[in-house]
């Protein structure tokens, strides 16, 4: 009995190495190696390779390509290699790396013990989806309410594939007892490594169980599963088959092998090449901006409109094109707009957490109808659609009706088959027309933002005035918003794709894989609130009386921006008309850039992007965040003259309005960590599509509304599909680089923040991302974080004369 707490602890601790896996309908881009983040990157990938079998670095062929196309600077590479004691020329070293790869690939062999373990895996991958199914099967596993272990225990007798021997033949009532019975013959010191190895055996399902148990959502509440319960079933089965559980002595190969060391050097050189170009540009622009500001002090007029986008790399493209159409100011802010909500849309059964996975939602926002007439039209359409869908569903499900249904409906399916395959663009137009006939919920609904003094799912419904003021003020503070135009838009984003289980991976990462429009509406609604504006003015945010806040949503597949302008006063009609015209122009240009990047061979890029959004045969509707490599924290002026090629996350920040560094602290602790998750997800999905990504879409098989299999079944796939990151195998489109963060702020401020945040220095010291500070107070010099709160840079870190103003530095040096 007394062993129970320690057993639980060692199970939890053993499970840290397996990354959480979120259900696919709310895909969260997380670092698959998040459990290893307290170790240096190089060591972590080696250990993960032992435990999970994944590659840690890009292949020699990928480096070769990068070297040939000039993306790795030979000089930087030489010095990186020299640092690690390699003098041979890069080509020779790449060959060595390729040879080493081949010899490890050939080293796999099956033994008898393996085949028994494989039988256990086969049995588990039969029962896990049966239990974890979220509404796909018509007949679900019996007794799920009792929890996984008990439900399995009740059925194990009926399953002829389960051996009638060992612990599994007569399962005790409690999972803990089963675990203890299965491992009693092993010394207690081996338990934790043993658990670790077993939990890592089906990392996809383990990660999903771990996430489901942590998240405590609806399905977990109804049908509970714990890691203990799963482990108990697993160990009992292994015991039944008589598999030797002794863990392989791990950490045997912690000494990095040559191939990994070489790969690390190439990777660092590639990253440094990109980073130097970016940092140089930011530093140069910083000087220019400082010089411009002195020259034109006070002359800046009011912009035509200000638009705030998500920090997402795709925003960089559309922002560039919007700015080019007129006097528009654009900003970058986390796509949940700082409001952590649980959102319940009109007519949806499920509410979603519309905030980054590192936060918990704090408010419940429900979409409520405000326009009866439109609502009625919508409901009529939706009702017919639902009735038809339900009729088809039950017709197909029942043996007595499915055959008649197929005969009656077959011809219709034939037509649809031909239309969707041969004229996908027309199908998009048709769907658009149907969509227009049925009003969208945002046309007749408002998010219920006001505080209701009630609770739903343990969350307060709506926001109090103080909370509203706080969210608005935080937004303006973090972005360094000082003056307001007549129109201020908050633009969330969502993708539009057809036939794509990974659609939520293309939605807003800051909203946990959900569309960002609702959050934008909440913030716009807050900012339009008279009382809130009053209080904001008291706090020094001078919002003019004629400023109108509106929300919108950026369709990242077609680059169309829809503005939710229902409540905008007539006085602003002209402003909005002009804005709409310019957004349409920007959309054309952004779509052209995108179509070009995807290698589309067409002059009509607008139709091409629309086709991709609607085409069921398209595996690359858009490139998502592929290419992401950097995070720039600073004013837009630093990057507005630069084409960052959709590779940079951009967070607006002005150190001048943030003397004590509070805003920067919030940005580094929040958005920077989320971007690192996203970046690592793309990195690992690219370097090992099978283990950390989810392989090719062409053989995908969605399971249980929670995830995807390759082919017939087995382990749950975890990361991004091959098509999201690559043009083809060994031809990555996403360049696997760790995130280069560039902060425009005094280096002392940054250092103080880091000193207070151990979780950030852990990530930085272990090289999961890098940080460079361009310090406008020190001659716009760049300082690269070098671990342990030290910096390397052009200038030495010595306090500059306090009087040195940025403006005094000559513009051309």
């Amino acid at each position: 009995m007394s062993t129970e707490p320690t057993l639980d602890d060692s199970i939890d601790s053993a499970a840290t190495t397996v990354g959480s896996v979120w259900p696919i309908h709310s895909f969260v881009t997380a670092n698959p190696l998040s459990g290893f983040e307290n170790q240096p990157f190089e060591q972590a990938v080696t250990q993960a390779a032992d435990l999970l079998g994944g590659r840690g670095y890009p292949s020699a062929a990928t480096f070769q390509q990068a070297l040939e196309s000039g993306q790795i600077d030979p000089e930087i590479l030489e010095s990186e290699l020299a640092d690690r004691g390699y003098e041979a020329d890069p080509e020779t070293l790449l060959e060595r790396m390729a040879d080493a790869d081949e010899s490890t690939a050939a080293g796999d062999s099956d033994t008898a013990a393996d085949s028994d373990a494989e039988r256990v895996d086969a049995i588990l991958t039969k029962w896990l989806p049966a239990f974890l199914d979220e509404g796909r099967a018509h007949w679900s596993m019996p007794n799920r309410e009792a929890g996984f272990y008990s439900a399995f225990r009740a059925l194990a007798d009926h399953d002829s594939e389960i051996p009638d021997a060992g612990v599994v033949a007569d399962l005790p009532e409690s999972p803990t007892a089963a675990i203890e019975a299965a491992v009693e013959s092993y010394p207690e010191s081996q338990w934790e490594p043993l658990f670790e190895e077993q939990l890592a055996a089906l990392p996809g399902w383990t990660g999903f169980i771990k996430q489901r148990a942590d998240d405590e959502g609806d399905w977990q509440a109804e049908y509970p599963i714990t890691l203990d319960g799963y482990l108990a079933v697993r160990l009992s089965l292994l015991d039944g088959f008589g598999v030797d559980l002794e863990p392989e002595s791990s950490f045997e190969s912690t000494a990095p092998d040559t191939a990994d060391e070489l790969a690390a050097a190439f990777l660092s050189a590639w990253e440094a090449t990109y980073r130097e170009e970016l940092v140089d540009t930011v530093a140069t622009e910083s000087e220019r901006v400082a010089a411009d500001e002195t020259a034109t002090e006070g002359a800046a007029g009011r912009p035509d409109a200000q638009l705030t986008f998500c920090i997402d790399t795709r925003s960089e493209v559309i922002r560039r094109h919007i700015e080019a159409t007129g006097d528009y100011e654009t900003h970058g802010y986390a796509g949940f707009f700082g409001v952590p909500i649980e959102y319940n849309g009109y007519e949806t059964d499920v509410s979603v957490d519309a905030c980054p996975p590192i936060l918990d939602p704090k408010h419940r926002i429900t979409e409520l109808p405000t326009d009866d007439e439109t609502q009625t039209t919508h409901d009529r359409w939706a009702g017919v659609r639902e009735a038809a869908a339900e009729a088809i569903e039950t017709l197909q499900a029942n043996a007595a009706s499915a055959y008649g249904y197929v005969e009656s409906a077959g011809s219709g399916y034939g037509l649809a088959l031909a239309a969707r395959t041969l004229v996908p663009g027309r199908v998009h137009d048709l769907l658009d027309a149907i969509d227009d006939a049925e009003p969208d919920s945002h046309e007749f609904c408002e998010p219920m933002v006001h505080h209701q003094h009630t609770y739903a799912d343990d969350l307060p419904v709506g926001l109090t005035t103080d909370e509203k003021v706080e969210y608005a003020a935080t937004a303006f503070d973090l972005m360094g918003f000082e003056s307001f135009g007549r129109v201020v838009a908050f633009v969330g984003h969502a993708s539009e794709t057809a036939n794509n289980p990974y659609d939520s991976s293309l939605d807003c990462g800051a909203c946990a894989g959900n569309p960002g429009g609702p959050n934008a509406r909440v913030l716009a609604s807050i900012c339009n609130d008279e009382t809130v504006q009053e209080k904001l003015r008291e706090q020094g945010h001078e919002i003019p009386a004629d400023t109108v806040f509106i929300a919108g949503e950026h369709n990242t597949t077609t680059d169309e921006i829809e503005l939710y302008d229902g409540d905008v006063p007539a006085s602003h009609d002209d402003d909005l008309d002009q804005l709409r015209v310019d957004l349409a122009t920007a959309r054309e240009n952004a779509a052209a850039e995108r179509a070009d990047a995807m290698g589309a061979d067409t002059a009509d890029s607008r139709s091409e992007t629309e086709r991709r959004a609607a085409d069921w045969a398209e595996t690359r509707p858009e490139l998502g965040l592929a290419g992401n490599a950097s995070f720039v924290i600073g004013p837009r002026e630093l990057t507005e003259n630069v084409n960052l090629n959709g590779r940079a996350f951009l967070h607006s920040y002005d150190h001048a309005t943030d003397p004590d560094g509070d805003a920067l602290e919030a940005i580094l602790a929040g958005p920077m960590v989320v971007t690192q998750w996203i970046n690592n997800q793309y990195y690992f999905s690219t370097v090992d599509s099978g283990v950390y990504g989810s392989g090719s879409k062409i053989t995908h098989n969605p399971v249980g509304n929670v995830g995807v299999y390759q082919g017939n079944g087995g382990d749950l796939l975890t990361g991004l599909p091959l098509q999201s990151v690559a043009a083809g195998p060994d031809d990555p489109y996403h360049q696997p680089l760790r995130l280069s963060t560039v902060v425009h702020a005094p280096v002392d401020t940054v250092e103080e923040i880091l000193a207070d945040h151990e979780e950030l220095t852990t990530l930085l010291d272990n090289s999961w991302l890098s940080l460079t500070v361009v310090d406008p107070t020190r001659g716009h010099d760049a300082f690269h974080y070098d671990g342990e709160l030290t910096w390397t840079g052009e200038g030495d870190i010595e306090p500059e004369p306090a009087a040195a103003e940025p403006a005094t530095i000559p513009a051309d040096d």
Binding site: G135, R136, P142, D159, V384, A603, E618, N643, G690
Partner: protein
């Protein structure tokens, strides 16, 4: 403007972008940082050429069909191929499915290193099917049948470096070689007893076959058809075949499994000799029709559900053949092909975010007398319409069972619609007749058209007597219908486990260790 040229300007590749850089107010062009090489479109010539070719073939088959309808020219290469109504219908159908799969895969397989090989195999498969339905020489028929199976096995193992896909290919190959062997044995038997080397010759001579020979030959053909159509107990290969790229699965479920029905229709004079053989066909068909649905009910993965659904649909189709309605079987396999190809090609769109409470379990609700009466009347009218238009069930024979299914489907749809009490009454009561009756008319048109095309076959409809078995089947179906609607069977854990185990793919085709997966 634009006087300072910078490196990596995006304007030097791709079409001119209207304006973006020209509108810059400060006169400088944007400097590009970290530009990426554009994704190349590997314009592979073979896929494009084969796609055009297969659509060309489709148009060609339409022309052939038009000529055939005007006046059957009785095309044949004596002793080798003979083109009849079944050939023409299946040619049109298989080239259409193949065309869809070609066009779809051109975009779907973009970037796949073995794309050309995929297209070559799909195209070769299409040709093999075309030969199967046109072959007259028994050796040509058996060889084409084998080639069709081997090519499909290659498609199942399309991903070269993936051991589980190779295991799945091996599994299916064993089944397909088995079915080809059974056909070879049956044809050899028929050839040795009739002396004819052509199918037409054999079919002309079936009158002289002994009962034993007829049963043996028909038995071999029926088992071959069961393997091909993945009927229980030969369904494991199809549930282990999801390693095939999605479009190949679409082609398999719309074009490959059908060959079982085609085989029975082609050799109808042989299988109809003995009424017991026909009864056995009805029994195995009904078993799969019911079993497939039950297996489907416990599946959690989409392609597994579709696979089980095909097992059921093919069971129904084979049952139609067993009832003597070969034309109906062909109509069913074509319409099912449209349906199932669509389902596969859209299998990625099925993921939904649900809540435990919203998953409705069963639909038994009482909605008042009017609703009940409307439901029953709609169902009966649907059945009556079907019977009048297709002639099935107007006389007392096995066809009554088919009318029974259409009545049931209409009844069920009407019931489902009526339950939506939030909708206006006109919709609830009117929708099903309005949608279903025209659908039944369309079905009847398809059925009549196919029957017309097949009119030159020796046996298209073989009236079978209504036996106790038919009654039992009808009763069992009603029982299963009620069970699924009420969920009474769901109390049995034993049944659940049995269904789950029966529907498991072969275990060495499961990707339990993702490091084994390798697309290249």
């Amino acid at each position: 403007m634009n006087t300072t040229s910078t490196r990596h300007s995006r304007d030097d590749r791709g079409p001119q972008v209207a304006g973006s850089d020209k509108h810059m107010t400060d006169g400088t062009q944007r400097r590009s940082v970290g530009s990426l090489p554009a994704m190349e479109n590997h314009a592979a010539g073979v896929p494009a050429a084969l796609t055009r070719l297969v659509w060309g073939l489709w148009i060609g088959t339409l022309v052939v069909a038009a000529v055939f309808v005007r006046n059957d020219p009785g095309w044949a290469v004596d002793g080798l191929v003979a083109i009849d109504g079944l050939t023409v219908v299946m040619w049109t159908v298989v080239t259409f499915f193949s065309g869809i799969v070609h066009s779809y895969a051109r975009r779907y397989l973009a970037g796949n290193p073995d794309k050309t090989q995929f297209f070559t195999r799909v195209f070769a498969f299409t040709l093999a099917v075309m030969v199967v339905v046109a072959a007259d020489h028994v050796a040509l028929f058996a060889a084409a049948w084998l080639a069709m199976g081997l090519l499909m096995a290659e498609l199942i193992g399309h991903v070269d470096g993936w051991p589980q896909a190779q295991a799945a290919a091996r599994t299916s190959r064993r089944y397909f070689v088995g079915s080809a062997a059974l056909i070879a044995v049956s044809l050899t038997l028929l050839w040795s007893t009739t002396g004819a080397t052509t199918i037409t010759g054999i079919l002309d001579a079936v009158g002289g076959l002994s009962t034993t020979t007829a049963v043996l030959a028909a038995g071999g053909l029926v088992i071959a058809a069961m393997i091909q159509s993945a009927l229980i107990p030969f369904h494991t290969w199809i549930l282990s075949s999801m390693t095939a790229p999605t479009p190949a699965s679409a082609l398999m479920h719309a074009g490959f499994v059908n060959a079982g029905g085609v085989l029975l229709a082609r050799f109808a004079p042989v299988v109809t000799i003995e009424p017991t053989v026909m009864l056995a066909i009805v029994a195995v068909g009904a078993l799969s029709a019911l079993g497939g649905k039950l297996l489907k009910s416990v599946q959690t993965d989409i392609k597994g559900q579709l696979g089980c659904s095909t097992v059921g649909q093919m069971g129904f189709m084979i049952m139609q053949a067993g009832l003597g309605f070969f034309g109906a079987a062909i109509a069913h396999l074509i319409l099912h092909g449209f349906y199932k190809a669509y389902q596969f090609l859209s299998s990625g769109s099925e993921v939904t975010h649900t809540s435990p409470s919203a998953v409705s379990d069963h639909t038994v609700e009482y909605n008042g007398v009017v609703a009940g009466v409307v439901t029953v009347v709609t169902g009966i009218l649907g059945g009556a319409l079907f019977a009048i238009l297709t002639g099935k069930g107007t006389i007392i024979n096995g066809g009554l069972l088919l009318t029974f299914f259409v009545t049931f489907a209409t009844l069920h749809a009407a019931r489902s619609a009526v339950q939506h009490t939030s909708l206006p009454a006109t919709f609830r009561y009117g929708a099903v007749p309005l949608v279903f009756f025209p659908a039944i008319i369309v079905y009847a048109a398809v059925y009549e058209a196919i029957s017309f095309m097949l009119a030159d076959l020796p046996v298209v409809t073989a009236s079978t007597e209504l036996t106790l078995l038919h009654g039992v089947i009808a009763v069992v179906f009603v029982g299963v219908y009620v069970a699924i609607e009420t969920g009474v069977h769901e109390g049995s854990g034993r049944l659940y486990v049995a269904l789950l185990n029966l529907s498991q793919p072969v275990s060495d085709t499961l990707l339990t260790s993702t490091e084994d997966y390798n697309e290249y």
